[in-house]
């Protein structure tokens, strides 16, 4: 087990190093730089732009910049964000919990819903319920995320204005609300983005769960359970489901990365200043330190998610043993 974990750790560090190195090089090779367009007017002298580049160390050769970044990153120093004019760590420290909250709630909702729908379909394989749920899932799965987000926004924040248009809290009232009302305000702002993300990811999870159930339903032990007098529904829910959870658990581990990566379009449409939005804006602004740091965090979470999925699978299924 110890050797296995050490091997996985080495593998993880290599992956993270490779991903961040590639990111660092690619973003620096992309045309434009943080101070090329930042001033938005033509009469900013090239010397001023050059000075800004020098102030942030961008005048140094790329390998020098990389070594410097790597040394700083090893010490936990992620640099200074050009576009936010704040330390990268401060920017990520705000964005990461927001995305984790949004993605965490939607993952919880979509996995709960996805597993339930998968079971409901498997209980009536080939029946009307299975067919109709399958069609609905296919429909939601095929929806582009930005389109669905905009439709939900326009429908429930503009046409029928029962939820706020976006943001985390009410920009005018929040500071004047009581503690209880503040929580309610935060929850109201969470509803539309969480619902959108849940709708988008439930279909895949339900599909996985249904297919996993299809594989275990013909098993001998299911036949035995039915022969011993269990009704079909109980047999599916009590026995088949646990055995069919393995692929879904693996999927959950992979989805963990979205806790850090965020859902770019959903965050953008609902003005949710999380990791996805921060990263995309950083790319547009050529904010090299922020892009690289965001990718670093995301790759750590991806690797961690895969590891956790393996561990969770071994817990869920005694036949699977890590190491």
């Amino acid at each position: 087990m110890r050797r296995y974990l050490a091997g996985r750790l080495l593998q993880a560090v290599s992956v993270i190093l490779l991903v961040t190195t590639l990111t660092f090089v690619l973003v620096h090779l992309a045309p434009g730089d943080p101070f090329g367009e930042a001033f938005g007017r033509p009469n900013v002298p090239a010397s001023v732009r050059a000075q800004w580049r020098a102030d942030f160390g961008l005048d140094k050769p790329l390998p020098v910049q990389y070594v410097r970044w790597l040394a700083n990153a090893a010490r936990g120093e992620l640099g200074f964000s050009f576009s936010h004019r704040r330390p990268v760590r401060a920017v990520l420290a705000e964005a990461l919990p927001r995305t984790a909250l949004l993605a965490g709630l939607s993952l919880l909702a979509s996995f709960s819903l996805g597993i339930v729908v998968g079971v409901l379909q498997a209980e009536r394989l080939g029946g009307a319920r299975d067919r109709w749920l399958g069609r609905v899932l296919l429909f939601t799965y095929s929806l582009p995320d930005f389109w669905l987000a905009l439709v939900v926004l326009i429908l429930f924040a503009y046409r029928i204005p029962i939820f706020p248009v976006g943001g985390i809290v009410d920009p005018v009232l929040y500071d004047y609300l009581s503690p209880g009302a503040r929580i309610a305000d935060r929850l109201r702002h969470l509803v539309l983005p969480v619902v959108t993300l849940t709708l988008l990811s439930t279909a895949a999870i339900a599909r996985y769960q249904r297919n996993a159930l299809l594989e275990v339903l013909p098993s001998d032990w299911m036949r035995s359970a039915i022969a011993k007098g269990l009704d079909w529904r109980t047999a599916v829910r009590r026995h088949a489901l646990r055995n069919a959870l393995l692929p879904t658990i693996t999927l959950a581990g992979l989805y963990l990365a979205t806790l850090a990566a965020g859902a770019v379009f959903v965050e953008k449409v609902f003005s949710w200043p999380g990791m996805g939005l921060v990263t995309v804006n950083a790319i547009a602004a050529r904010d090299y330190p922020l892009i690289t740091a965001a990718v670093l965090v995301m790759s750590v979470l991806v690797v961690l998610g895969a590891l956790l999925a393996d561990v969770a699978a071994s817990v869920a299924d005694p036949r699977v043993r890590v190491g």
């Binding site: 800004w52 936010h84 926004l153 920009p171 004047y176 449409v269 804006n281």
Partner: protein, 567 residues
């Protein structure tokens, strides 16, 4: 539970509305509005904006929201008049300086600071702050984008605690403007402890302690910026209690925030949204002036070998023929319907030297073809002309973030095709677009600029000197006569002669077909009807925001929060 859409966008459904009402009622008791003595005092305006600010330190601003907020937080020594006259000092209005005196040689001006002026932290504004501000702006270690605009300012000194003397290198028509418009006065006691070289990264850039009529209450990155009235301000408190910029990073989300009533103002409405407001009873549209203008800028230098003429567009006849191929009025109508404004040359229509009577290169495709024929460009089998084995084919570079410019490029491509010129559309993100522009690596570019009010801005863009590394003449246009005329325009003290010199320079640039003058972007804001706006200036519609107001009888519940501190 779904409910019918409320008549007023300021009504809300759900539990929050009750909290809201209770809150507003209790707030009224403590609000300064009640005792303000004027029915115009009070209210909150929420702006919906797709971008966040980066800094609250004026010399280091980079975007419009930075400028909007810092203009409101900080004061100048004097303010430009609404007609944006930059010559002399006659039309300028006192701000931090209650008066000023010129030295006998006109190379220095003594500014007398209003003794009642205070920083938002309660400290008095002193002459030393003026000296510090000038030093900071001029410090090469700071690297302000205003560097070329304050080149004529030499230094500042302190005569006494309330008198600052600003020294200039030369006596020019715009030296007063250079100082009072470009240099916002900053608090020495707040900033001086931070080394200049660290200003870009120091937290001090987020404090926003100025002397303006609004003070910074809160800045939550990516969410909102809140300014509140400085009730003890020496220029009088603003009529509004509070101004909030609610940040929605997606353009459509920002529009929806306005349309749904969560925000009161959105300043970047597009034609399709304006149509939706036609029957709106709660909102209206307000057109505001701008110094922005858009044109197709030809690169007269070879992007592959700068210093050499462009193989196609270095030829004046080709540029003129391409200009003749474009029906600018029809394009304007096509893209903006009735909302767009024509340009008449390399200037926005709002500058004081603008002239709509200048002779234009006419739209005439027959003449365009004839001109290209006579220049030796012969149509090929595919309709594209060529000369000495080189096809009349070039790229137009445009940012993919601008819908209007993308539409225009397609229309230009079609227009040029009709006279035998092929166009490749080079579309990229804004950073890529800017890099190509700054490096002069383009054939033709869809340029959109906001110029400074003074004619000196045109000198940087159109003079031969502007072709240098630090210049802004990215199209490498060069005409010695234009150089001379722009020099004269920037040095004469006679406004009518300045206009005449500028007019003649513009006419030459037009006839040289340095670019195709396309449009002034329609700058239209959506504003809630309860809000009464003040006159809007072309350099920033927010210039008189402190005079915007909401009549007492039309205020919504959130307007009545007043200046009550947060819980």
């Amino acid at each position: 539970m779904l409910r019918a859409r409320p008549a007023s966008p300021h009504r809300r459904t759900g539990r929050a509305v009750f909290l809201f009402a209770a809150l507003a009622l209790s707030a009224c008791k403590g609000s300064e509005t009640a005792g303000g003595g004027s029915s115009d005092i009070g209210g909150t305006i929420v702006f919906s904006t797709p971008s966040d600010a980066q800094t609250m330190l004026p010399p280091l601003i980079v975007n419009v929201i930075d400028r909007t907020v810092t203009d409101l937080l900080y004061d100048r020594l004097a303010d430009i008049s609404d007609d944006m006259n930059t010559t002399g000092d006659k039309t300028f209005k006192p701000q931090l300086a209650e008066r000023w005196d010129w030295s006998a040689d006109s190379l220095s001006i003594a500014f007398h600071i209003n003794p009642r002026a205070k920083w938002h932290d309660g400290q008095p504004v002193r002459a030393a702050d003026v000296r510090y501000s000038v030093q900071l702006y001029k410090d090469p270690a700071l690297g302000t984008s205003a560097t070329p605009l304050i080149a004529n300012i030499d230094s500042a000194s302190v005569r006494d605690s309330l008198t600052a003397v600003v020294h200039f290198k030369r006596h020019t028509p715009t030296q007063f403007y250079d100082m009072v418009y470009q240099v916002l006065i900053l608090p020495q006691h707040v900033l001086a402890s931070t080394p200049v070289s660290q200003m870009k990264t120091a937290d001090i850039g987020r404090k926003g302690i100025g002397s303006g009529r609004f003070r910074l209450a809160k800045w939550e990155p990516g969410q909102r910026i809140e300014l509140v009235a400085d009730t003890a301000n020496y220029r009088g408190r603003p009529k509004l209690d509070r101004v909030i910029w609610s940040i929605a990073p997606d353009f459509n989300a920002a529009v929806t925030r306005f349309m749904s009533g969560e925000a009161d103002v959105f300043d970047q409405l597009r034609p399709e949204q304006i149509a939706r407001l036609a029957g709106d009873t709660a909102r209206r549209i307000v057109r505001y002036p701008t110094f922005q203008y858009t044109y197709l800028w030809f690169n007269e230098a070879n992007p592959a070998a700068l210093g050499q003429p462009h193989p196609l567009l270095g030829d004046r006849a080709v540029r003129r023929a391409l200009t003749m191929a474009v029906d600018r009025r029809a394009m304007l109508r096509n893209v903006f319907d009735t909302l767009g404004q024509m340009l008449y040359g390399p200037f926005p229509n709002t500058v004081d030297v603008a002239d709509s009577t200048l002779a234009q290169i006419p739209y005439d495709t027959v003449k365009a073809r004839a001109l290209l024929d006579s220049a030796g460009w012969i149509p090929g089998t595919d309709g594209v002309r060529s000369k000495n084995g080189r096809r009349l084919e070039f790229a137009i570079t445009t940012p993919n973030s601008s819908a209007a410019r993308k539409q225009y490029v397609v229309l230009l491509q079609e227009a040029f095709k009709l006279v035998g010129a092929a166009v490749r559309i080079d579309e990229g993100d804004f950073a890529t677009f800017s890099a190509k522009q700054n490096d002069h690596k383009f054939d033709a570019i869809m340029a959109l600029y906001a110029t400074d009010p003074d004619v000196s801005g045109f000198k940087q863009t159109w003079s031969t000197a502007g072709m240098a590394k630090d210049g802004a003449n990215f199209g490498d246009y060069s005409n010695p006569k234009v150089d001379a005329l722009l020099d004269s325009a920037t040095t004469t003290f006679d406004p009518s002669r300045k206009k005449d010199y500028a007019r003649r320079a513009f006419e030459m640039i037009i006839q040289d077909a340095a670019g195709i003058w396309l449009y002034a972007p329609p700058t239209i804001a959506g504003v809630h009807k309860r809000i009464r706006t003040a006159p809007m200036r072309a350099d920033g519609y927010w210039a008189h925001l402190a005079d915007w107001y909401i009549p007492a009888g039309e205020r919504s519940a959130r307007d009545r929060i007043g200046l009550r501190p947060t819980q």
